[in-house]
Amino acid sequence: MNQPECIQNELLRKTVRQFIENEIEPHAKEMDLTGEFPWQVIKKMAKLGMFGVAIDESWGGAGMNADAEVIVLEELARSSASVALTLDAHNLALYPIYHHADEALKKRVMKSLATGEKLCAFGLTEPGCGSDAANIQCTAVKKQDHYVLNGQKAWLTNFSVSDYYVIAAKTDRSAGARGVSLFLVERDNPGLHIGQEEDKFGMRGSNTGEITLENCEIPLENLIGIENKGFAYAMETLDIGRMAIGAIAIGIIVRALEEAKAYAQQRAAFGKPIAKYQAVQFMIADMEINLFASRTMLRNVVAKRNRGENITQDVAKLKVFSSEAATKAALDAIQIFGGNGYSKEYPVERLMRDAKLLEIGEGTTQILRMLIGANTLR
């Protein structure tokens, strides 16, 4: 990393942290308790340009690289993983448009998305299919001057707050993964129906639910990139999503460690702070080790990504390791807090509920271990 990049990253982290301390941290607990989408926070983030840090300046972004993307997500997750997830989901949908859509489509939507004026959601998962992404049932039938989409999408983050939806649908049902295409669907399309919001265990400030596409007619120019290349685009997108999950996991570990350290140093038992006991020190040490390892892995993945190299295998390892480490760090923080850790009055139980999602979303730990194992044994 050269000097301007180091300065850039330091400046970015400092700026984002300052914003979060003033504008997000005071609302993080409330967001979790009420489950309401934090529109005020999102609008302020947009005003600051946080929705397009890695998008080129010509599209209204900040023109930075993947370092910037993960710094913002990590810092957000340190305060509110829900807000980080909202941004991650937006970035996920933005990615295939930015990298694969034609100029006309980009001109229509990129600027409003890169500036956060409008939000978007990425629809791959369906009620009957998650990890087996090539087996989606949603269809897109080409007519003379439009496509007709039919199907259901589940577990969409930003499902009811988005203006645009990037939807994966089968354009060739007989071709498996090679018959998937990506489409841009506008919110006001009469064929798009917004379903119920999920009442989630964690990440409660994020907006997750189901949408239905019923004879949803979209113009041919809303096809993203080339027909039947959608699965490859989606997999590329998921690599970026997994990198983001690594950053969110690190944010959660950092917070768990900060909270646990402060509590262990002030809480006394048998005449001395509990931080003086080896049992507590071991849990703190594990958090430190896992944080160091996760950061090292993320730095490695980001450097590869910035060089334009393939990150599929490494980012899968990062995601498995860091998401499990985040859950463990949050659970250990609860243990250090004792009874207080089990109370919603303290922030560590929220960290645990938020962290668990990271082991499930954007490729479960199990499917990623299969991917890594199969590649190793090839």
């Binding site: 301007p4 300065i7 850039q8 400046l11 970015l12 700026t15 300052q18 900040a62 930075m64 910037a68």
Partner: protein, 264 residues
């Protein structure tokens, strides 16, 4: 119009503060640093004036190389240019030497400066001397504790300042030095789109040689100030819980206050 903002990097007081037992000054080696909060107010005012009068703005900071970070921050906020005054010879400068160095830097860099803005004091040493000291060195008028600058006309600025008893409106001939107190401005966050450009900007460094100052007038040699001793303020608080209805509680509060007043 040309505006200079003096910026100091200070330890982040929300973290742990250490005192160097030898010099009895703040130990800045391991502490995380931030721009002095009052200097941030000065920057905010400078940016408002830049927008209003199309003014040219320059941030100047004196400190070690790492103080450059504060200047990159100023550039990302929208300040046009930044200068770092840094030289090993300046280490240990007290406010007397510091004002000499900064005044010389302003004379060299922006001889036709219109306004020099700085925080009313830095939150580390809390002297509040640098602003007025620079004014004295440069032979300029100085208005302290300014919180607003509603008018600049005919070579004069009308400013609103805080006094011990309220607010005063003062008219002052320009060029002048204004030390800035709390303004009513909202927090001025850096826009993400400014960060890349600011990080790639050039920051000019001024040294003892480029400022053409005598070595004996700067650094420890040029600084007569010595911190004699340092004492921790002892805060002893006693909590008394009062019971009873409002009337009873009020009587007991009055009695306690009388007792305390007698003690004083």
């Amino acid at each position: 119009m040309k505006i200079v903002v003096l910026v100091k990097q200070v330890p982040d007081l929300s973290g742990d503060i250490k005192i160097d037992p030898k010099t009895k000054n703040l130990d800045r080696r391991d502490s995380s640093v931030v721009i002095n909060p009052y200097d941030l107010q000065a920057l905010t005012l400078a940016l408002q004036l830049k927008q209003q009068f199309n003014a040219e703005t320059c941030a100047i900071s004196m400190g070690p190389q790492k103080a450059e970070m504060a200047l990159y921050e100023c550039l990302a906020m929208g300040i046009d240019e930044a200068v770092l005054i840094s030289d090993r010879a300046f280490v240990g400068s007290d406010t007397l030497a510091t004002t000499l160095i900064i005044a010389q830097a302003i004379r060299k860099k922006i001889p036709d400066v219109t306004m020099i803005l700085c925080g009313k004091h830095a939150v580390d040493a809390e002297t509040g001397i640098v602003g007025p000291g620079v004014a004295e060195r440069m032979g300029l008028p100085c208005v302290s504790n300014v919180c607003e600058c509603p008018e600049i006309k005919n070579g004069k600025a009308r400013v609103r300042r805080q006094s011990d008893t309220g607010y005063q409106t003062v008219s002052c001939a320009l060029p002048a030095v204004f030390t800035i107190a709390e303004t009513s401005s909202e927090p001025n966050y850096i826009h993400m789109n400014n960060i890349k450009k600011a990080s790639n900007a050039h920051i000019e460094t001024m040294t003892l040689a480029s400022l053409q100052l005598e070595r004996s007038k700067v650094g420890i040699e040029g600084s007569p100030t010595v911190v004699g001793s340092l004492n921790l303020v002892e805060m002893n608080k006693e909590t008394v819980m009062l019971t009873g209805d409002q009337k009873e509680a009020a009587c007991r509060i009055a009695a306690l206050l009388q007792k305390t007043a007698k003690g004083v």
